[in-house]
Symmetry: C2
Subunit: 554 residues, 2 copies
């Protein structure tokens, strides 16, 4: 039998994964990877850390060189070549060498599109100026690092407050550059809910990152050298000798579109669960392909490294024809970010997404320590749990704080994958020992708080609604100790320690709406129960306590 030709367009995560897996599955295949870039198989998600010198050496980011693929896997990797055209009838790819413009035709039996995504460049004046960069490829990261080494950059503006933008901003601050992040949406980290995003924003500001939200970039001004000198934001002008554009990416689908492959509603390439595109013998994987949301079943586009690797592997198995087809039924868009010492993660649907998908949404905002409070290194994390009131199914979660969040977000992601209810979440048998967890882990505590809420045992209000409630006359009562109150409290609150509540309840106007808060929510829950028993009616508690309060305290 003549060996089949597998051609893969794109050589970062998904493309090289598909190539390597295809080779391991079937040594008879002839596998060729075509890439426009000079580097292949590099760690795209590591670029912000390379810029910030957390990762010192360029070579650490490059997993394999083209030569390694040839020697170790018998895979031919051709760099500096651009695919121009796919002819599905003839099963050919026409490509051009960038060095000399020579055109070559590649025959395929199976074709994998791993063309990735490219940064979106906002169509504003001055976007072509020098020192306006994107951080998507290794070549771009090298260029930025070179700028730093020349010590020319004093002030930077990062356009876009999503994950990559914030990671870059942190790493700019680490290298001593005054940095401002400008985000068009009402809050940074747009996929997160506002309560989580505001918390992160408050933290970043404390760390010296300037942040402007709900602010549009109108253009860029040049300095005398023709490089960027200022960024025009709304009506003001931010001086900058570097602008990083990080307003999002768009899937690279032109090749696919031009040959008639179906593009889906998200703008990425439509695929089935086997990663097959609409034309036979063609697969699409990684950031250029669509995904299915595991909860809603809706078509989504989550361009993530984790998904890229998985879809590349699925295509690699399926095109090799050696076993039962592999499938990926859906993803949750699980994502995580580290910013200074703060971690923030999200899985499943946000409150906003869940509401727009039609669920009767219930949420809980619950702080808890990440390990035994007495064990060195214990830190608080805050879990926002999102569930459906009717089915009691967990729909999503956001977890943030200086403690460990990757563990509980992965627990949630796993639970959501299997359709867990809040009740089931509360009974998980998770590993406990003081260095790792509390006896009732943060996951279980947050599920229990939501069970109390579902059972109507307390009325909670979001920190986002507090200010408006207080303006309408609500009384905010801090039930912590007087010592704690004097160290830090929410503006406008009065202090009646829980232990004095029975004797001092007369100080509270029964006709006002009363909002109780404490550090994390346990004492305010006790106070809620006490006041209820004393006949108070208009009482609620601030969810998340002062720990999760994302605005200024005093």
């Amino acid at each position: 039998m003549e060996s089949e030709n597998v051609v893969i367009i794109g050589g970062v995560a998904a493309g090289t994964k598909a190539a390597a897996k295809a080779r391991r599955e079937n040594p008879d295949l002839k596998v060729t990877v075509l890439t426009r870039e000079s580097y292949v198989s590099y760690a795209g998600c590591g670029l912000p850390y390379y810029i910030g010198d957390v990762i010192k050496e360029e070579k650490e980011l490059v997993v394999k060189k083209p030569k390694d693929f040839l020697i170790d896997y018998d895979i031919e990797v051709i760099t500096g070549i651009e695919a121009l055209k796919i002819a599905p009838e003839e099963k050919t790819v026409t490509a051009k060498y960038l060095s000399d413009g020579a055109v070559r035709e590649f025959k395929y039996d199976k074709l994998v599109l791993a063309t990735g995504a490219s940064p979106f460049i906002p169509p504003v004046k001055g976007k072509e100026l020098g020192n306006i960069v994107t951080v998507r490829t290794l070549t771009e990261a090298f260029a930025i690092k070179k700028l730093f080494r020349e010590r020319k950059i004093k002030k930077a503006v990062v356009v876009g407050g999503g994950m990559i933008g914030l990671e870059v901003a942190e790493n700019l601050v680490h290298t001593g550059i005054k940095t401002t992040v400008v985000e068009l949406a009402p809050h940074i980290l747009p996929p997160f809910d506002q309560d989580a995003a505001r918390y992160v924003e408050k933290y970043l500001k404390e760390k010296g990152v300037e942040i402007l939200t709900g602010a549009a970039v109108k253009g860029f001004e040049a300095n005398s050298r023709g490089e960027v000198g200022a960024v025009l934001v709304e009506d003001s002008r931010l001086e900058a000798d570097l602008a990083v554009l990080s307003v999002g990416v768009r899937p690279n689908v032109e090749l696919a579109r031009e040959c008639g492959i179906q593009i889906g509603p998200t703008g990425a390439i439509a695929v089935n669960s086997k990663m097959e595109a609409s034309i036979s013998n063609i697969y699409a994987v990684g950031d250029c392909a669509e995904n299915t949301n595991l909860i809603t079943g809706r078509t989504v586009w989550y361009p993530m490294g984790s998904t890229a690797n998985k879809t590349g592997r699925v295509a690699g198995i399926n095109l090799s024809g050696t076993q039962t087809k592999d499938r990926i039924n859906g993803v949750l868009g699980t994502s995580i970010i580290k910013l200074f010492d703060l971690n923030a993660a999200k899985t499943g649907l946000s409150e906003r997404e869940a509401k727009s998908a039609g669920y009767d949404v219930v949420t809980a905002l619950v702080p808890a320590p990440d390990r035994a409070h007495y064990y060195p290194g214990s830190r608080d994390i805050i879990t926002k749990l999102i569930a459906d009131r009717n089915s009691r199914r967990v729909l999503g979660g956001q977890i943030f704080g200086e403690g460990v969040v990757d563990k509980p977000i992965d627990i949630l992601a796993t639970a959501i994958t299997f359709g867990a209810t809040v009740d089931q979440l509360a009974k998980l048998d998770l590993a406990y020992s003081p260095p790792f967890s509390t006896a009732m882990s943060s996951t279980i505590v947050s599920a229990n708080v939501m069970l109390n809420k579902l059972a109507g045992k307390f009325v909670g209000i979001s920190p986002l609604d507090l200010k408006e409630k207080m303006e309408k006359g609500a009384v905010l009562v801090d039930v912590r100790s007087t010592e704690e109150y004097f160290v830090r409290s929410i503006p406008g609150s009065i202090n009646i320690p829980l232990r004095e509540l029975a004797s001092r309840a007369g100080e509270i106007d029964r006709n006002s709406e009363i909002i109780l808060y404490c550090r994390v929510g346990l004492r305010s829950y006790m106070a809620f129960l006490k006041l209820k028993r004393m006949g108070f009616e208009k009482i609620s508690m601030l969810e998340g306590g002062i720990i999760a309060y994302p605005f200024a305290t005093e």
Copy 2:
């Protein structure tokens, strides 16, 4: 309505959790906690760390004092009182004050047994000598710490190599004491499989802990002061001025047994999923009660702090009569231990347990980094995955190494709870960013390796079987680079780097059994595929590579 009396016997984790939850559920209850001890609500799992000075202050271990329960929860806690008898007909508990011997009768409407477990004392000669201690209560921990402060202890023997014994041994070493662990079973950490346990043993020995396995303690010899002077182990004599007995615990069930409450097959109190004992209005929670294994449905006894808290909460809700009954359907026995910088965790069934439960067991032993290999702090961990060949269901896992293991074990525990198959495990959408994970996390990599194994793509052998195979003539081929081979290799192996395999395969005798290994298993898998293609038949690969090899290397 007259208020109901709730009496709870036992005041550590499960007892105080049941009390506090009952109070929050129903403020009309009269709740009384009786405990023999002087302290309540303390962190039993923190005691080894207190002994080792990781936790400096006694007060950090005491969550709440009796007075706090009265003020904050309106719960009466009586310390220093021993329950003598339960009369289910009269609904009374008779108890005696340890201080003056006064006897008092307590009326109950609902009774909770949270009597815990006590260390098993092996019935050997000299067990009553001074400086032979157990580490179960706070009072005992205080006494040991006092011994250390007096700087009298130079050599210690820990009898029992289970989790608590090893934690204590580590903390003894931290305080400069020469420490030997003596374990009767063939390996330390008896609930773990041997491959994992041997790995931990090797690590502990490197850290200076002496370990004797398969060794029985025959008795204790006194020194001139009537304290322990030596421990008699098999035919030898280990000098010691401290002996810590940690050979396991037994549930405290005498009170229950005497009043006719059913004791289950494990020796603990039989309960249903609502934590109700066999006599009505009586609950049993925490370490004195039985559990159900979630996978096998069998009755088990897992005395753990995490389960204690959960069962206490279930009883607290159910006895309060305020809502739908709460249930706990089963547990997995998830557990974790930190020893120096090594972490080891287990969930679900071990290979041994799975076989004895009748499953057609398949395992995979898979090393992987805990975060991006280029991100600072990245460490390898080893996952042993255990699954059922027929249903492809994941049955259990053991994860160990110097990297993060609590996260992947909790992912596994969650997946197992929902009956995940290996296929589903491989497609989990887990959070990826370089500081937290690899794009294909260790969980997914281990599932993929097992999928390859289930599909018959390679033949793996356990490191435990290697020596025997080599004695029978198997050739062990290290396919790593020559540099790696010279740094560290498995005794008796020859080196043919993967890249030279095609040209040097002739050096290998085709008639011998050939075992391939590399660092983690990827290159040996490539080598396996190559040799197979070259017509070699008797080939296999060492699972886990040299990374997971639990015996001496050279």
